[in-house]
C-alpha cells in the first residue's frame, strides 16, 4: 500500500516538472497591461516603453475602467518591464495584452524583430496580441488619450483592427506569433496595420490607417486604406467590405456592392526565363445601394455591373502590386514563397537574383464578380 502510494506521489512529482512557468499570483498583485508601445532612444541606446494598464485603484464600481500609462526604460524589453516595478506597487502582467505598437522611426531603422522576440520567448506573454506601426512621431502617442475620456485605448484599437477585415477591409491583422514566423521564413512578406491619431468629432482618437509594408523586418512604406483593401484581395484575406462603382452617372460612384465572400488563387508560370504571376479572384457581392436609376432586376444590367466591378478590382489589385514591386521592392504578397513551395528547383535557380527579378515580374489579374443578391426596397 505504502509502496503504491509512493509510486503515485513520485509520478505526480515527475509530471510537475513538465508544466510551464506558473505560480500563485493574486489578481490584486498585478498591473494588467493592455497595450504596449515601443520607442527607441538612439542617444542612450535604450528602449522607452509605455504600458497602458487598467487603472483599477481609483475607479468606482459603476464606472467603466480607465487606462493609465506606465513608462519605463531599459536596455532590452525585458529589462524595461522589470524596471517598471521600481515605480509601481504591482508587477506588470502581459497575459492579457492586446496590442504592441512600434514607432515608425524604429521600424525603419532598427527593424521590429528586437521588439517582438521577448513576447514569444517569455512564458507569461500573450502570443495572439497583434503588432501595429505608429504613424505619429512616437509609438507612445498612439496610446495617449484625452484626460476626461473613459475606456482603454488599446482595447479600442484591438476592436478596430480585429473587426476591420469583416467590416471595412482597410488594414491587415497580424498576431505576434505570425509576425515571428513570417520573419523567420523565406517568405518575408510582412505587412502590419498602421495607427495614427485623428479627429472624430471634436475628440482626438486613434484610428487605423491602412497598412505598413516591410522588407525583412524593416519598414519600407505604407499602403493607404483603399490600397490595403485590394492588397487583402491579393492575400485572399478579405471577408467583407464595400466596393463602389460608377455606372450611370459619370461623376460620382452610384452603386455600392457588399462583399459576401471572396477567394483568390495565386499561381505562376515560368516561360523563357520570365516569371508571370497569375492572380484569379472570384467574389460574391450583393447590391447594397443603388442611386443610378438602373433596373438591377435586368440581367443585362447586372451583367454590366459584374463586368465593371471585376474590371475595377483587377485594376486596383494590379496597381497595388505594382506599387510594392516598384516603389518598395517588398515581396509582401509572397511570390518567392509560392515559387519556393511549388518548384524548389526553379527557386534555387532564381534565389540569388531574386532582388533584380522581383520588380519586373509580370502580373496578370483576372477578377470575376458575381452578384448574388440585388437587395429589395419597400
Amino acid at each position: 500500500m505504502i509502496k503504491r502510494l509512493l509510486i503515485c506521489l513520485l509520478q505526480v512529482l515527475l509530471v510537475l516538472s513538465l508544466c510551464g512557468c506558473w505560480n500563485y499570483r493574486g489578481l490584486d498583485q498585478v498591473n494588467i497591461v493592455v497595450g504596449i508601445a515601443v520607442d527607441f532612444d538612439k542617444e542612450k541606446k535604450e528602449y522607452k516603453m509605455s504600458y497602458e494598464v487598467a487603472d483599477l485603484g481609483t475607479v468606482k464600481k459603476d464606472q467603466s475602467i480607465k487606462g493609465r500609462i506606465i513608462t519605463a526604460e531599459g536596455k532590452t524589453l525585458f529589462d524595461a518591464a522589470r524596471n517598471a516595478k521600481r515605480k509601481e506597487k504591482n508587477r506588470l502582467f502581459f497575459g492579457s495584452s492586446y496590442v504592441l505598437v512600434i514607432s515608425q522611426e524604429m521600424a525603419r531603422e532598427e527593424g521590429i524583430f528586437n521588439s517582438i522576440e521577448w513576447f514569444l520567448r517569455d512564458g507569461e506573454c500573450r502570443e495572439t496580441m497583434f503588432v501595429a506601426i505608429s504613424q505619429e512621431e512616437t509609438a507612445a502617442k498612439v496610446l495617449e488619450k484625452e484626460e476626461n475620456i473613459n475606456g482603454i485605448v488599446s482595447a479600442d484599437i484591438h476592436d478596430i483592427i480585429m473587426e476591420d477585415k469583416s467590416v471595412s477591409a482597410s488594414t491587415v491583422h497580424m498576431p505576434v506569433y505570425e509576425v515571428y514566423s513570417l520573419l523567420k521564413s523565406k517568405a518575408n512578406s510582412l505587412a502590419l496595420p498602421v495607427l495614427r491619431k485623428t479627429k472624430n468629432g471634436d475628440r482626438e482618437v486613434t484610428a487605423a490607417n491602412g497598412s505598413a509594408v516591410f522588407k525583412g523586418d524593416k519598414l519600407v512604406g505604407f499602403l493607404t486604406p483603399a490600397e490595403s483593401k485590394y492588397a487583402l484581395f491579393a492575400w485572399n484575406k478579405i471577408k467583407s467590405g464595400i466596393l463602389t462603382i460608377n455606372m450611370a452617372d459619370q461623376k460620382i460612384d452610384d452603386i455600392s456592392l457588399e462583399i459576401f465572400q471572396s477567394s483568390t488563387k495565386k499561381n505562376f508560370r515560368y516561360d523563357q526565363g520570365k516569371i508571370k504571376v497569375i492572380i484569379e479572384s472570384s467574389t460574391d457581392v450583393a447590391i447594397a445601394e443603388n442611386h443610378s436609376e438602373l433596373n438591377v432586376m435586368d440581367e443585362q444590367i447586372v451583367e454590366n455591373i459584374q463586368k465593371e466591378a471585376g474590371k475595377m478590382i483587377e485594376e486596383n489589385i494590379k496597381a497595388v502590386i505594382e506599387k510594392v514591386q516598384q516603389e518598395y521592392q517588398a515581396d509582401i504578397f509572397g511570390f518567392s514563397d509560392m515559387i519556393f513551395k511549388r518548384d524548389l528547383k526553379l527557386w534555387k535557380q532564381l534565389e540569388l537574383e531574386w532582388e533584380e527579378i522581383f520588380p519586373d515580374i509580370e502580373v496578370e489579374v483576372t477578377s470575376k464578380v458575381h452578384v448574388v443578391n440585388s437587395g429589395f426596397t419597400k
Binding site: Y24, D28, I32, L56
Partner: protein, 517 residues
Amino acid sequence: MLRFLKKLCAGKTTDIDKKIAGLNYPLEERKFSRSLDENVAVIKKLLTDVDIAQYKLIQSAGKNPARYFLIFFDGIVHSEIVNSNIIKPLMNSKTEEGSPKLEKLLATVVQAGESKIIDTFKAVIESVTHGDTVLFIESCDQAAVFNTRQFSTRAITEPDNEKVLSGPREGFTELLVQNLSQILRRARTNELKTKMMTLGKRTQTKICVCYLDSLVNREVLEELYRRLDKIDIDGVLDSNYITEEIHDYPLSPFRTVGSTERPDVVVGRLLEGRIAILVDNSPVALTVPYLFIENFQSNEDYYFNFYYSSFSRLLRILGFFLTLSVPGLYIAVVAFHQEILPLQLLMRIAMERQSVPLPAALEAVIMLIVFDILRETGVRMPSNIGQALSIVGALVIGQAAVEASLVAAPMIIVVAATGITSLLVPKLNAPMIFWRLFFLIMASTFGFFGLTIGLSLLFIHLNNLTSFGVEHLSLKGSFRLQENKDIFIRFPWPYMIDRPKGLSRNKVRQTGDGIDD
C-alpha cells in the same frame, strides 16, 4: 452493613427462587418447566423492574377450576381484545377433569385470529415486547402467544426529501408491515419474495429482504445474505446502520447502497433485478446494487415527458461537475491562469480583488466553510427561527461582507453557484463537500494542473468502486445503445427493451414488438 443486607435478602428466598438461582445464566435460553409457578417465577425474575409488564392470574369457572397465567406489556396491547377475547372466555370456560390441553384452548376457548405455540423464555420476551399476549397453563411446558398488538404510527405521507410534482405521493413509514403492504400493492405476484430476519442483539430489529425471484441476480443475493449474516451489531435504529455494515468499501465517501423512502422507487428497482432491504422502524429502504448513475436519476424522470426528464438528468450531471469544480476552477483562473479570461471580465474581477484583504484561495476555503455552516444550521435549528438564518446568511455574509470589502463579490457568486448546484444532486452532497475542498486545495497549489490531477483521482476512485460485485461506474467494455437507454438520456418506455447491464439475470424487459427499430 453489606453482610446484613445480604443476609436479609437470603432470608427471603423461597424454594423456587433457590431453584432459579441454581440455574446457569442466561435465563432466556431455558425451556419452560411443567410447573406453572416455576414458569411464573422465572418470568417475573426476567422482568424485574420492568414495570410496564402486566401479569394476570385467572381461574376458570366450574368445579375443578384451572389456573391460567397471562402476561403482556401495558400500552402496546389492545386492551379490548385482551379483555373480551382472551380473559373473558378463559374465565367463563368450564374445565373438565385434569388440566386442559393448550391446543384445545386455542381451538375452542380463546378468540384470537393469530396465535402460535412457544416453549422458551426467550420467545416470551420477544413476543411481549411486540405487544403480544402470552398465556401459560398448568402442567404444560408450552405457552400460547396471541397477537394483540396495537401501537400508533405515523400516517403515510409524502417524504420531504423526495417530493415529486406528479406521480405517486406515498412514502414509507416506520412500520415494516405497512411498508411491505405498500410494496405488495405495487407488485401483486408470488414472485415477490419477502425474507424476514432479525438483526441487533439488543434491539431485535426485524429486517426484510425483498426481491423478484425470476429477475434477481443470484450472486448478488447470496453475497447480500453472506454480508447480512456477518453483521454482529448491538442495535439497528435506522437502515443506515445496515448500509455501513454491508458496504463494499466502508471508507469510501460514495455510497454503494441505494436508499429511498418511496415504495414506487423500490418496486421500480426490484423490476430492474435489484434487491430491497426494509428495516423496521426506519422509513428508508435500501436497494442493492447501487450504480453511480442512480445518484442522478429520480423517480420523477419516469413520470414526466422523456425530453424533459432527459434534460433534467443532464442538468443534474452538469450540476455535479459544477459544484465539484467551480471553486477550484475560479481559484485556478484568478491565481494562475488569468490570461484565459476575457479582458473586461478579468479587469472587473481584478477590480473587486483590489480592496480585499485575504488571498483568493483562503477566501474560497473560508466562504465554503461558511456556506456549509449555514447549510448545517438550516438543518439543525428549530424551524421557527429560520428567518434569523436567512438574514444572517443573505445580509451579513452576502451583502455586508462585500460592502465592507472583506470578501470579493465574485467569490460570493462562486459560493452561491456551488451551493445551488450542489442541491441538484442531494444524494452526492456528503462526498462532494470533501472532494470540492480537495479540488480547491489542489487548484490553489497547482492551478489547472492540480485540478486535473484531482479530477483524475476522483475518476480512478469511482472506477474502482463496486456495489455487490457490480461496477459502480460502468465505463469499461464496448458501448451498446440498448444498455445506455436509461443513463444520460431516458428513452421512452417502448424503446427500453433491456434491463440495465449487470443487474438482472433476465435481461429482456419487454419484447419490443411494438416498435419498428
